[in-house]
Amino acid sequence: MTSQAANALELKDLSVAYRVGRRDRAVLRNVNLTIKAGEAYGLVGESGCGKSTVALSVVRYLPRNGSITGGSIALDGKDLMKLDAEALRRARADSVSMVYQDPGKALNPSLRIGRQLTEIFELAGISGQASENKALAMLNRVRISDPASVMQRYPHQLSGGMQQRVAIAMALANDPSMLILDEPTTGLDATVEAEVLDLIGQLRRELSASILFISHNLAVVSNMCDRVGVLYAGMLVEEGSTRQVFNDPRHPYTVALLRCLPRGGQRKDQGRLDTIPGFLPGIGATITGCAFADRCALATERCRAEPPPLYDLGDGRLSRCHYHDHAQSLPRATPAEIAAVQPKLAPPVLQVEGLNKTYASHGRPLRAVKDVSVSLNPGETLGLVGESGSGKTTFARLLLGLVPPDDGGSIELEGKKLAPRLASRSEDQVKAVQIVFQNPDSALNRSHSIRHILSRALKRLGGLTGKALDNRLEELVRSVRLTDRHLAVKPRQLSGGLKQRVAIARAFAGDPRIVVCDEPTSALDVSVQAAILNLLADLQSKQDVSYIFISHDLGVVRYLSDKIAVLYLGRIMEFGPSEAVFSGPHHPYTEALLSAVPKLDRTETSRIRLDGEIPSAANPPTGCVFHTRCPRKIGAICETQEPELTEAQPGHTIRCHIPYAELAKLQKPKTMEPA
C-alpha cells in the first residue's frame, strides 16, 4: 500500500431517500462507513434495510426516484458529490466495479463473452489483439478452464457459476480500487457458491482492491470479510471485526439475527428456532427512539424516546444500542421448549419403489429420476438434497402426480397404490398429498383474495360448505398464525413470510398425509425463515403429517428432517436417517455438499471442492455417475461399473464402490457440521 491516508471508501452521514407518491421516504439515515484500502467489508441485514441502496449510492447510480439527501461519498479520497457527469463517469470507469446477484442478467445475452470483455479494454483505449489477450488473461485469472473457447460462447451457454466468474472477470478488468459485490452467490448452488467464494478469496490476495460485500447470508460474510456492518432500517446498528460481531454481538438485532439460524446441527426435536417478532419499519417511516425498539424485548422507555447514538465500544466496535453491554441477554422471542414427541411404530405412510422418469431431449432419453426407492413414516420428514438438476423437484412432481412417472415403479400411500396421473387419483388421495411451493407469488393467484384462495381449498379438499367451511377457515387461519384481517386482502398486499403462511394453510386445508415443501423458505429472510420452519415443525407434531422437504440449505434440511436422500443426476447416492447422513461416514458427494456450506464459525478444515459442472442427465457419465467430479475416485471400476446402493448400517444406504469401513477411515479426521 502506497499511502495510508486514502480510505478506499468513506461514507459520511449519507442519507438517501426515494420519492414515492410525492413524498421523500428515507432509505438510508446518516450512514457512516469507512473501508480501508485492501479491506473486505461485509454489509448484512434483511431485505428492505437498504443494503443495495448503499451499493448504488457508492457509484451514484440510484434509480430515478432516488436522491442523496445529505452527507458525502468519497472514493479514494475523491468526493463523488462534487464531480460533474463526465468526471463521475471516469471515476466509475477507473476505480469502482460492481458484481450483481444474477449474472444471467448482468451479461448481454446477444454478445459473445469475448466481445463483452474486449469492449471494456477498448473503452480504456486498448484495441485489437492486445485487448483480446487481456481478455484471455482476465478469464485465466478467474480460473476459467479453456478461456479461448469460453470467449466464443454466449452467456446462455455457460452455467451460473461460469457466468458469475465472467462477471467477476469483467468487474476486475479495469483493475478497480473498489469492488462491490451485491449478493454475488445468492442464486447459485452451494457447491458453486463455494467455488465462487474461494475465487473471490484468492483474488483478494492477488489484488489490492477493497471489497464491499453485501449479503443476507451471515455465514458467507463471516467467511469473506474482515469487518462487518449490520444495517437496520437504513441505519448502521453495529460494526466491528467479523469475529467480534458474530461471536460477541452487541446489538439486540444482531443477537436475534444470529439466533434465527439453525446452527450446529440443531434439530426440530431439540427445540424451536428463535424468531424476531414484528416487522422492519416501512421505508420512510418516522422513527422516534431506537428503530429496533418495537421488536426488542430489552427495550425500555428510554429506547422509545431517545434515539441511541452509535456508541464507540473501543477496538473499532460500534453499537447503536443504549444497552449494548447486555444486548446478549435478549430473551428469546420464541420459547425453545417443545412437547416431546414419542417415536411411533407405524407402517410407512409413503413407499416408493423403483420410480423412474425419462424425458426426451433432442431425441435422446433424459433420465431425470432413475430408480428411486424411499419410504417415509407418518410424522417424519424426508429431506431431499442435491445440486440443481439433481432431480429433486421432478421427484416431488412425480409424487404429486403432476407429471406421470415411467411405467414400472410404484408409489404407495398408506399401503394403497397411487395412480401415476393426478386425474386418475381419488379425491382422498389428491388431498392427501399437497405441496408448498418455493415462490408464493407464483403459487397464490394474484387476482384472488386470501379468503377466496383458502375457502376454495377447503371446499375442494376439505369438502366443506357454508357454516362448517367458515369455522374451519377461521381455525386454519389461526393455525398458521394469521388473523381475520388478512383474509380480505390480495396476496400482493402481504409480505413474503405472510404469503408463505397462506400457502401452507392451503396445503393443510384437506388434512394432508404428506406435504411436499419445495424450498419453502429460500425466498425469505432468516428471521422469517425461522418462523416458517417453526410453524412447519409445530404443524407436523400436531397433525402427524409427513414432509418431503427440498432445500439447498443443509442447515435448514437438517433442522427439519428425519431422513435424508441425497440425489445426483436423478439417482439416490445416499439415503438414511438424518443424523447418520450428516455425521458420516457419508458418500463422497454428500461429503462435498457438506463441505461447501459456508460456516458461521470460521473453522477452516481442509475443504473439498467439486470441479466442473454437473454433467447433463441426457448424457450421464458411465459407471458411477459421480466419477467425473468425485474427489475420492478409486480407479477404473468407478468409470465402468455403476455401484449398487448398499446398506452401510441398518437403514443407511450409500451408492459407492468404496466400502463403508474405508469411507469411515477416509473421513474420520473431520467432523462435518453444516452451518
Binding site: F279, A423, E427, S442, L494
Partner: protein
C-alpha cells in the same frame, strides 16, 4: 404448542399497499393527458350518438330540394348535400350507427377471441396446433372479402356487419390471449388448482382469466379503433350501413365524386369525423396500454 411463536401481526395498513392494482391503473389513467384527450373525443361522439337527434338544427333525413349543395353558411354550418340535407346534422347523427356497430363487433371479437385463446393456450398440444393454423388461414383473408361473402349469403344488415367484423377480429384477440395464457399456465397456482382436482373450465375462467385481463383490455381498445375503420370502409363500399341512414362512410361514398366540382364540404366533415373518432380511440388505447405497463 407455542402460541407465542407467532410474529406479532401488524395492523393491516402496514402490510397493505395503499392501492389495489386496478386502483393503480385507474390512478395513472386519470393522470394521463393522452388518455383524457382520447376519452374526451370519444365521449363527445358518444353524446352525439345518444342525444344528437335532439339537438341538431335539422332532421338529417330532411331533403331541401331548392337548397342543394349549399356551401357552409350561418344557416347550414357545414353546408348541404346534393339532396339539400344539412351536413352538420348528418355528421353529428352519423355517429349513431358506427358507434353501435363497431363496439358490438369488438365485444363479440373479444368474447369469442378470449374463449378461443384460453382454450388453445390452456390445452396447447394438438388442439393449439390445429386451431392456430385455422386461425392463421382465416386471418390471411381480407375482411372485405369475408364481408362480401357474408353479405351475399346473409344480406346486408347491421347484424351481418357486426358478425363479420367480430369474427374476423376474434383470431387476433385469440392470439394475444393465447400467449398470455401460455405464460400464466406455467405458474404454480395452476398446478395448485390441479392438486385440488379443479376442472379445466374452472382453471381457465376462474383462475387464469382474471390474470390475463390487462392484455385483453389493451387488445380490445386497439381492435375498437380498427373496427370503426372497418365499419366506415364497409359502408363506403356499400356493404355496411344502408341509405338513407346518415353514416360517415356512406356519405363519403355517395359524395366523393363531387369534390371535383368544388363541393368539398359534402365529404370533408365526414372524413374528419371518422379520423377524430379513430384518433380518440387510439389515444385511449395508448393511455390504457401505458397504465398497464407502467
Amino acid at each position: 404448542m407455542n402460541a407465542t411463536d407467532s410474529p406479532s401481526l401488524p395492523a393491516v395498513p402496514d402490510t397493505v399497499a395503499r392501492r389495489s392494482p386496478w386502483g393503480e391503473v385507474l390512478h395513472s389513467l386519470v393522470r394521463s393527458p393522452t388518455f383524457l384527450t382520447g376519452l374526451g373525443i370519444l365521449l363527445f361522439w358518444v353524446v352525439c350518438a345518444l342525444l344528437g337527434e335532439h339537438f341538431v338544427p335539422y332532421d338529417p333525413l330532411d331533403a331541401d330540394i331548392i337548397n342543394t349543395l349549399a356551401p357552409p353558411s350561418a344557416e347550414h354550418w357545414f353546408g348541404t348535400d346534393q339532396l339539400g340535407r344539412d351536413v352538420f346534422s348528418r355528421v353529428i347523427v352519423g355517429s349513431r350507427d358506427i358507434l353501435t356497430v363497431a363496439p358490438l363487433a369488438t365485444i363479440l371479437a373479444t368474447i369469442a377471441g378470449t374463449a378461443l385463446g384460453l382454450v388453445i393456450g390452456y390445452f396447447r398440444g394438438i388442439v393449439d396446433d390445429i386451431v392456430s393454423r385455422v386461425l392463421e388461414a382465416f386471418m390471411a383473408i381480407p375482411v372485405v372479402i369475408i364481408a362480401l361473402l357474408a353479405i351475399v349469403a346473409l344480406g346486408t344488415s347491421k347484424i351481418t356487419v357486426i358478425v363479420v367484423i367480430g369474427l374476423s377480429f376474434a383470431p387476433i384477440i385469440a392470439r394475444t390471449v393465447r400467449s398470455a395464457v401460455l405464460a400464466e399456465r406455467e405458474l404454480d397456482y395452476v398446478a395448485a388448482a390441479k392438486l385440488r382436482h379443479e376442472g379445466a373450465l374452472h382453471t381457465m375462467f376462474v383462475e387464469i382469466l382474471p390474470n390475463v385481463i390487462p392484455p385483453i383490455l389493451v387488445e380490445t381498445t386497439v381492435r375498437l379503433g380498427y373496427a370503426i375503420f372497418a365499419v366506415a370502409t364497409l359502408s363506403f363500399m356499400g356493404f355496411g350501413i344502408q341509405p338513407p341512414s346518415p353514416d360517415w362512410g356512406l356519405s363519403i361514398s355517395s359524395n366523393y365524386g363531387m369534390i371535383g366540382g368544388g363541393f368539398w364540404w359534402t365529404v370533408l366533415f365526414d372524413a374528419l369525423a371518422i379520423a377524430s373518432l379513430v384518433i380518440g380511440v387510439n389515444l385511449v388505447t395508448d393511455g390504457v396500454h401505458g397504465a398497464f405497463n407502467d
